[in-house]
């Protein structure tokens, strides 16, 4: 009997970080990862659903807008509603916002260019299942790669996020300061990742699956996957 956490990586047409995510979960984190094609209607048995990065449906209409209505998403919404753990990375974050599973929206970067580089993010809330192995204020070096990562939410929504400690990551400089120049896309208040109120759904623009091995230059992303997989193992 396998006690490994079971992870479902959803593959949309145009997903392109699905294999990196699968590799990170399976080969590095030793999870029981598998791919789930977007046309499937059931997730089957899984402990976590990961919506990976990429350009689902060519980013047509709005990023994530079409993927949000893929057949599998009905079951993802059900799974999430029952408290299932969901992680959306980059395009996956956009899909979660479009699906209404997370508040806000991701707009065109303020400088109108695609941004692909390492950034620093500060852990704003370490009391989540996705950040349990971090401390508040920790600075993680993780790459971003997106054209539409400019997080927007109305004032009332922003107050809600703050009140409920739903802002999990903010873009910062190497010293951990929240400066404009450290903000790669114009996101409101440097927001890089948010969690839902119940704490089971996280969306983030940076790619933890691309920062998993020292050999490849950085491994801070491992803390996030490790946190969430441990939280699953501990509850088994």
């Amino acid at each position: 009997m396998s006690e490994k956490p079971r992870a479902a990586v959803v593959v949309f047409p145009g997903s392109n970080c699905d294999h990196d995510t699968f590799y990170a979960l399976r080969k590095i984190m030793n999870a029981d990862a598998r791919f789930v094609w977007h046309k499937e209607e059931k997730l089957e048995n899984t402990d976590i659903v990961v919506l990976p990065g990429g350009f689902s449906y060519g980013d047509y209409l709005r990023c994530g807008a079409i993927a949000r209505f893929s057949p599998i998403m009905k079951d993802v919404v059900r799974f999430a509603g029952e408290g299932g753990v969901v992680l959306g990375i980059c395009n996956g974050f956009q899909v979660l916002c479009e699906a209404g599973l997370l508040p806000g929206a991701l707009l065109r970067n303020d400088h109108v260019r695609f941004v692909c580089k390492d950034v620093y993010i500060r852990v704003e809330n370490a009391d989540t299942r996705f950040t349990a192995t971090c401390h508040e204020g920790d600075i993680l070096k993780i790459p971003v790669a997106h054209g539409e990562g400019n997080y927007l939410i109305d004032e009332a929504g922003l107050e809600e996020l703050k009140k409920n400690h739903q802002i999990v990551f903010r873009y910062c400089n190497q010293q951990g300061e929240l400066t404009d120049s450290a903000n790669p896309n114009g996101s409101i208040e440097n927001i890089a990742g948010v969690i839902n109120r119940e704490g089971n759904i996280l969306g983030m623009m940076p790619h933890p699956e691309r920062a998993m091995e020292k050999l490849l230059g950085k491994s801070d992303g491992k803390k996030i996957l490790q946190s969430v997989l441990e939280s699953i193992s501990n509850s088994k």
Partner: protein, 88 residues
């Protein structure tokens, strides 16, 4: 059969970096008298509906459900009756 012309725009409160960039480019080309450029989307759609009211309801629904994201976008549309059947 009805035809709808839908215009989707970023809400006025939202900064439109794409429009801003185009505006700068036009200014560089010497058109200094154009301002406040806002980019949007135009969608044309044929609707099978018995009445204009029904067509408008369908269009309104598809706009709010998929074509526009109310967090950041507004939409308007015009609906007109098509005289000839359109080949699909």
């Amino acid at each position: 059969m009805y035809k709808a012309n839908i215009t989707i725009t970023l809400r006025p409160s939202i900064l439109d970096p794409e429009g801003k960039t185009i505006e700068q480019s036009l200014h560089q080309l010497g058109y200094g008298d154009v301002h406040n450029i806002r980019m949007g989307k135009h969608v044309e759609v044929d609707v099978d509906a018995g009445t204009e009211k029904e067509a408008r309801e369908i269009v309104d629904t598809i706009c709010s459900k998929l074509l526009a994201n109310p967090v950041m976008e507004d939409y308007t549309f015009r609906v007109e009756k098509l005289q000839v059947a359109v080949e699909r």
